[in-house]
Amino acid sequence: MSGFAQNTFNGLVSGAFYALLALGLAVIFGMLRVVNFAHGAFYMLGAFGAYVLLAEAGVPFWAALVIMPVGLALLGMALERAVIHRLTKLDPLYNFLLTFGLTLILQDLVKLRYGVQSSPYETPSLLSGSVDFGLFDFPTYRVFILGFAVLLCVAVWWVLTRTRIGMVVRASTERPDLTRAFGIDVGRWVTPVFGFGIGLAGLAGVLAAPMRAVNPLMGADLIIVVFAVVVIGGLGSIFGSVAAGFGIGLVQAWGEAYLSNFPLVSQTIVFVVMAGVLLWRPAGLFGREEAPA
């Protein structure tokens, strides 16, 4: 039983990363109809930024946890204004290509300066050690991540459902034309929402730094899994993306633990689930049907 709890807990922790990234992708997609390929690159920049801040300027984890998301959000907003904005009126595939190009550029810039080897990042002293839950104990840092991510998702949910900004964002996510027709300036919220999504990716990156290998390629492979996650959850649905994030984390962890004879399972199970969802509910578990093609 304690083994099961352990696996479930680990699944929720890795699910928390999927959820944070999927949440950012979903709000950006909702507002701009842009699928941001560079989301993984910003996650990597968050982790790398935290590492560089600590190694070269002695800035501690807690400060990085604020500096990196804010800095990356500003960078994201600048990027949205500079290029992404120009392409939002065209087919969304162009922005997918654009952000793909940006991913290659960001990755190689970091690679040029710091090489491809992974850099260790020490767990902040306050969060080292483990927490005893009676039957079993968990590493404190992972408990912190899970709590933090859940809190963040709840906070975002609160903002989206209980505030005026949230109402505007939700309305323009689900029915942009109708929202405009009500006289709401949708365009005004586009840049901040993009920045917010990027900030979330950066935050996930900083959180990942102490428990995952920090290297220039850490974001790229992750983002493809997150794409599968949002296809499963339904990209149009913010709740669906978060739920699918945690769900896939769980399924992966259980697969890894109970099907350990098949090392492929934990890596490919997300794609198998995606195939099943495409067969059963092509629009995603929580998505709405697209206009029939």
Binding site: Y94, L97, L104, V231, T268, A293
Partner: protein, 337 residues
């Protein structure tokens, strides 16, 4: 996917790319002249370039045309075509090493394997359109990558398949210069097949589906089945390129299945001109040549340059080379009239 789409929601109902129309309307002698020039350049290429680079250009030309068949003529952006290119590369390599078939047959086996793999992936992917199609194909290609990475007893994992033979009925093809001429007919056949598909009644239906899927369905065409057929044909042609690539390098590494390979194929097409078929060949030649030049001059961050090209092309040059030239020619012709 064209430049004339006004609203994002209108994306599925795009108008045909200008390039295709302009070239199709060009007078017969212009088309024959272009064909003659193209064939002449293909025949001369390994004399003007390092032959190994010329071989790469041929392989990538097939890959680009395969991607354009979907992107330009069916309106589906596959961001996972490395799955077919790479699967064929591995199967070709394995067949050539273990069975010892002459290389054209090994490549055929590889391309068939790619086409077989394209059936389930295509069947699932055509259930979604637009950006979702891109994400789904990308995800499945990543799955293929993981499988190849994990299945070390067959693929040799990160070491790659070494020593793929270039055997063809005892003819010595170790020199890249002669190998180029050995594969040129195969590549030309593949390109001709793509041209034939696009200009067949089947291809016309694909364009009809691209422009207005709802109308095509209303006219009684089974849209999903047409898309799936196009996907499998495209997978086969990409597989031809991938198999030749494996024999050309006498080595297969995991790179052939990586998502950057899928992305590169798409940008080659966009650079050449979406929906122009031959534009992809030009794009392939330029990108392969550039990458060779960069790696030869010791520049390490190739992604910086390809990524930069990606961004520039998408922001400033969406018609691509062929599309821009065709549009210009079209405008000049219209003025003269």
């Amino acid at each position: 996917m064209t430049n004339t789409v006004d609203t994002p929601t209108d994306a599925s109902r795009s108008t045909p790319p200008s390039g295709l129309i302009a070239v199709a309307r060009a007078p017969g002698w212009v088309r024959y002249a272009l064909l003659a020039v193209g064939l002449a350049v293909a025949a001369w290429l390994p004399n003007g370039l390092y032959p190994a680079v010329a071989v790469d250009i041929l392989c990538w030309a097939l890959f680009a045309v395969a991607v354009d068949l979907l992107l330009g003529f069916t309106g589906l952006m596959s961001f996972g075509h490395a799955a077919f290119w790479g699967t064929s590369a591995y199967v070709t390599g394995l067949v050539a090493i273990h069975v010892g078939l002459p290389f054209p047959l090994a490549v055929l086996a590889g391309a068939l394997a790619a086409a077989v793999l394209a059936v389930p992936i295509g069947y699932l992917a055509v259930k979604r359109t637009g950006i979702y199609f891109a994400m789904v194909t990308l995800a499945f290609a990543q799955m293929v990558y993981y499988v190849a990475n994990e299945w070390r007893s067959v693929t040799q994992g990160e070491n790659g398949l070494q020593g793929v033979p270039r055997e063809m009925f005892g003819v010595d093809l170790t020199d890249d210069y002669f190998f180029y001429y050995a594969i040129l007919p195969i590549v030309l056949l593949g390109l001709a097949a793509a041209w034939r598909i696009v200009h067949s009644p089947f291809g016309r239906v694909l364009v009809g589906i691209r422009d207005n899927p709802a109308r095509a369905r209303a006219l009684g065409y089974p849209v999903h089945r047409y898309k799936l057929t196009a996907f499998v044909l495209s997978g086969f042609i990409a597989g031809l390129g991938g198999g030749l690539f494996a024999v050309g390098h006498r080595f297969v590494s995991l790179d052939v299945l990586h998502w950057t390979t899928s992305g590169k194929a798409v940008i080659v097409v966009v650079l050449g001109g979406i929906g122009t078929l031959w534009g992809g060949v030009l794009g392939a030649a330029l990108v392969v040549r550039l990458e060779d030049w960069l790696s030869f001059s010791g520049f390490e961050a190739i992604g910086l340059v390809t990524g930069g090209i990606f961004v520039l092309v998408v922001v400033l040059f969406r018609r691509g080379i062929w599309g821009s030239v065709a549009a210009l020619a079209h405008r000049l012709a219209a003025r003269r009239r």
